[in-house]
C-alpha cells in the first residue's frame, strides 16, 4: 500500500459557499508533501477536514487504506494521524514536560485510568524525556508552557504532535511568524521528526516548502491544480499564473 493519505472527490460547503470542490489528493507513505496556495484557497479547511474537525459534505478520505472521514478527531488521532495548528495549540498552564507526557498517554494505553500514577511509570517518563531531547527543550521542562518563547512553543507543539507515535503528521504553517534563524531551526526539527513518517505541511514560506517537500500540491479556490516535484512545480505555467505570480518569485 503506497498510499499514506488519499482524498477522493472531497467537497465541503458552508451554506452556499463551496470552499472545497471535488478535491483529489494522494500523499504517498513516508513522503514529505507540502500544500501551498494563496490566502483563502481552503488550506486550513482542508486540514480540518482531514483531521475530523469538520465533516465532509461529500467524498471520502482514507488513511493507510482505512476510511477515516466519519470519525471523531480523537478516533482519527488513534488511527495514527497527528496534527499541529496554525495558532499555537499547547496546554499553556501545564509544564513543558507535562505537555509532552499528555501527548504520549493514549499511545501507551493509559486510557482514562484513575489507578496508575503517571510519575511512577518508568517507560512513560523515559519516552517523555527522549522526545524533549528530540525537540531540544530539556532545559525548560518544568516551566509552564505558556511562558516559552514563540519559537519554543511551536517546537513544543511539534513535540506533542509526534509524542503519540503517529505515522502521519500534519503541520499547519509551522514556521509562520518566525525569524530566519528560528525558521532554520524549525525546518531542521521537522526534517528530523518526519524521518520515516508521512508529512503533510501547509506553508507560506516558499524557501521552507522547496527545502522540505518531496512533492508539492497547489490548492487554488478549493481545487488542487497541480501535484508534482518542487522543480516541476516551479516551472509549471498554470501554477505560476495562479499562485506564484511574478512579483513574488
Amino acid at each position: 500500500m503506497s498510499n499514506g493519505l488519499k482524498l477522493t472527490n472531497v467537497c465541503k460547503s458552508f451554506g452556499e459557499a463551496k470552499i472545497i470542490q471535488n478535491l483529489n489528493l494522494d500523499v504517498k507513505k513516508n513522503e514529505r508533501h507540502a500544500i501551498i496556495g494563496p490566502n483563502g484557497a481552503g488550506k486550513s479547511t482542508l486540514f480540518h477536514l482531514i483531521s475530523g474537525h469538520y465533516k465532509l459534505t461529500s467524498g471520502s478520505i482514507t488513511l493507510n487504506g482505512e476510511k477515516i472521514n466519519n470519525l471523531e478527531p480523537h478516533q482519527i488521532n488513534r488511527k495514527g494521524l497527528a496534527r499541529s495548528f496554525q495558532v499555537t495549540n499547547i496546554f499553556p498552564k501545564m509544564s513543558v514536560y507535562e505537555n509532552i507526557r499528555c501527548g504520549i498517554l493514549w499511545s501507551m494505553d493509559f486510557k482514562y485510568s484513575i489507578i496508575k500514577l503517571v510519575n511512577k511509570d518508568i517507560a512513560l517518563n523515559k519516552k517523555t524525556k527522549s522526545i524533549l531531547e528530540e525537540i531540544n527543550l530539556e532545559h525548560c521542562a518544568d516551566i509552564p508552557a505558556g511562558l516559552l518563547s514563540y519559537a519554543d512553543q511551536r517546537a513544543l507543539e511539534i513535540g506533542i504532535t509526534i509524542a503519540g507515535g503517529a505515522d502521519t503528521l500534519m503541520l499547519d504553517e509551522p514556521t509562520a511568524g518566525m525569524s530566519n534563524t528560528e525558521t532554520e531551526r524549525a525546518v531542521n526539527l521537522i526534517k528530523q521528526v518526519s524521518e520515516n513518517r508521512t508529512l503533510v505541511v501547509v506553508e507560506h514560506d516558499m524557501g521552507v516548502v522547496f527545502d522540505l517537500a518531496d512533492r508539492i500540491s497547489v490548492l487554488v479556490y478549493g481545487q488542487i491544480i497541480a501535484t508534482d516535484t518542487p522543480l516541476n512545480i516551479r516551472n509549471n505555467k498554470a501554477v505560476q499564473e495562479a499562485y506564484l505570480g511574478t512579483e513574488d518569485h
Binding site: N77, P92, L105, S107, F110, V118, T161, G164
Partner: protein, 422 residues
C-alpha cells in the same frame, strides 16, 4: 522515594493535628464548626475536580450532595424501623458515594455534551429541577420541612454509638482524610492529567487521542461521587436534611468556597472551605449583613485575585525559590498596602452597618455598635468619621499600591532574568 515519604508524613501530621483539635477547643460550638468544616472540605474539593481541575463551572453540584443526604436519612430511618437490614454507620459515606455516582453519571452524561456557558446553564437547570422536585414528591422529600432521623441505630461495635458529636467528628475526619487523599491521587493519574489538558485546551486534547466528552463525563461522575460521600456525612452530622441542601444556594456556597480559596491549586478549596465556614459561623452572629460582605469578598477576589487565596500564595513561589531576600523585601510594601485598604474597608463597613441599622424598624435612640464602639447612626458625626475613613483609605491606597506593585514587578523581573540565564 523521599518525595513519597515527605508527602506521606505531611498527611500524618495533618491527621494528628486534626485529631487533636477537639481537645484544644472544648466548646460544643467549636466541635460543631469542625464537623461542618470537615464535610464541606470534602464537598469543596470534590467540586473543584470540576471547576479547578476540569474547567467546568457548575451551578448545581448540591444535587449530588443533597440527594445522597436524603438517601442516607431514609436508609437510617429504614434501619431504625427495621424495614431495612443493618448497615454499619461507619460505611454510610459509601452509600452517598454510590448515590452521587449514579445521579452524576446520568446528569453528567447529558450536561457534559456541552462546555462553557451552555454547561453552566444546564447545571443550573437541573438544580432548579431537583429543588422543584423536593416540593412536588413529598413522599420522598417531605417538602419544606425536610426529613429527620436518629443516627443511633443498630448494634454498637466497641461501644461506639455515633450518638455523641465527638464520635461523629472522628468519623468525618476519617472520611475527610480518605476522600481528600483519593482525590489528590486522582490528580496524579493519566485521567487527572488529561482533566487539566482538557481544561487548558480541549481542541488539542482531542488531537492527542482523548475524547474530550469522555474525560469531562468521568470528571463529572467522580466529582459527584465524592460530593455524595460528603452529603452522607452532612446527613449523619445534622440528623436532618431539607430542600436547601440540594438547592442553588448550597451550590453557590460551594462555588464561593472553591473560588475564594483558589480553584487552580489543590489546597485552595480546603483553605476556602475552612475560612468561609469559620467566617460564616462567627460573623453571622456579629452582623446581619454577613452575606453582603461575603458577596463583596467574592467580587473582590474575582476582580483582583482570580487565582483565589491559594493563587496569591503560589504566585510568590518562584520568588521564594530564587531569592528569599526579595520575598522579605515585599513584606513592608505589602503591609502598608494592606493597611491602607483596611482603613478604607473599616469606613465601608461602618457605612453599611449604619445603613442597615437605619433600615430596621426599631431604631431606638440610634446607637449602633460597630467595632466594639458605640456610634449614633442618627448623628452626622458618625457618618463623617466613616466617610472620612473611606477617603483616607482611598488616598493611601493610591500611594501604597503602586509602590507595592513596583517592588513586585522588580522581584518578578529578577526571577525571570534568573530563569532565562539558566
Amino acid at each position: 522515594m523521599r518525595n513519597i515519604f515527605k508527602s506521606f508524613t505531611l498527611w500524618i501530621i495533618v491527621a494528628i493535628i486534626a485529631a487533636a483539635l477537639p481537645l484544644l477547643f472544648e466548646s460544643s460550638f467549636a466541635l460543631t464548626l469542625l464537623c461542618k468544616m470537615g464535610v464541606l472540605i470534602i464537598f469543596t474539593v470534590a467540586y473543584n475536580m470540576l471547576l479547578g481541575q476540569g474547567g467546568m463551572l457548575s451551578f448545581g453540584h448540591a444535587i449530588y450532595f443533597g440527594l445522597a443526604g436524603y438517601a442516607s436519612i431514609h436508609i437510617l430511618n429504614g434501619i431504625g424501623e427495621e424495614t431495612l437490614p443493618y448497615f454499619p454507620t461507619v460505611l454510610f459515606p459509601l452509600i452517598g458515594a454510590i448515590v452521587g455516582l449514579f445521579f452524576g453519571s446520568i446528569i453528567g452524561y447529558v450536561s457534559t455534551r456541552r462546555a462553557g456557558t451552555a454547561f453552566a446553564m444546564i447545571s443550573l437547570g437541573f438544580c432548579e429541577m431537583v429543588t422543584a422536585m423536593t416540593l412536588i414528591f413529598v413522599i420522598f422529600f417531605n417538602g419544606e420541612d425536610g426529613i429527620q432521623t436518629d443516627r443511633m441505630v443498630g448494634p454498637e461495635p466497641f461501644g461506639v454509638t455515633f450518638g455523641p458529636q465527638i464520635e461523629i467528628y472522628y468519623l468525618i475526619l476519617f472520611w475527610c482524610l480518605v476522600t481528600v487523599a483519593m482525590m489528590y491521587i486522582i490528580t496524579k493519574t493519566p485521567f487527572g492529567r488529561m482533566c487539566n489538558a482538557v481544561r487548558d485546551n480541549p481542541e488539542r486534547a482531542a488531537f492527542i487521542g482523548y475524547s474530550v466528552r469522555r474525560v469531562r463525563w468521568q470528571a463529572f461522575a467522580l466529582s459527584s461521587m465524592f460530593a455524595g460521600a460528603a452529603g452522607s456525612l452532612h446527613a449523619l452530622n445534622y440528623e436532618q436534611i431539607g430542600f436547601e441542601a440540594v438547592g442553588v444556594a448550597q451550590s453557590g456556597a460551594v462555588l464561593f468556597m472553591a473560588f475564594i480559596g483558589g480553584a487552580g491549586h489543590f489546597l485552595g478549596p480546603i483553605i476556602g472551605a475552612i475560612g468561609l465556614t469559620y467566617l460564616d459561623s462567627t460573623l453571622a452572629d456579629l452582623t446581619e449583613a454577613w452575606l453582603l460582605y461575603l458577596g463583596l469578598i467574592f467580587s473582590l477576589i474575582v476582580m483582583f485575585a482570580p487565582g483565589g487565596i491559594a493563587g496569591l500564595i503560589v504566585m510568590h513561589g518562584p520568588i521564594a525559590k530564587t531569592n528569599s531576600k526579595l520575598l522579605t523585601g515585599l513584606i513592608k510594601p505589602y503591609l502598608s498596602a494592606i493597611g491602607s485598604i483596611i482603613i478604607g474597608i473599616i469606613g465601608f463597613i461602618g457605612i453599611i452597618e449604619m445603613l442597615y441599622f437605619r433600615s430596621l424598624i426599631s431604631k431606638g435612640e440610634g446607637e449602633v455598635i460597630i467595632f466594639w464602639t458605640e456610634f449614633n447612626a442618627n448623628g452626622i458625626i458618625s457618618w463623617i468619621i466613616f466617610i472620612g475613613l473611606i477617603l483616607l483609605g482611598f488616598v493611601l491606597s493610591k500611594k501604597t499600591f503602586p509602590k507595592a506593585k513596583e517592588v513586585w514587578d522588580h522581584a518578578i523581573s529578577v526571577v525571570k532574568a534568573e530563569i532565562t540565564h539558566e
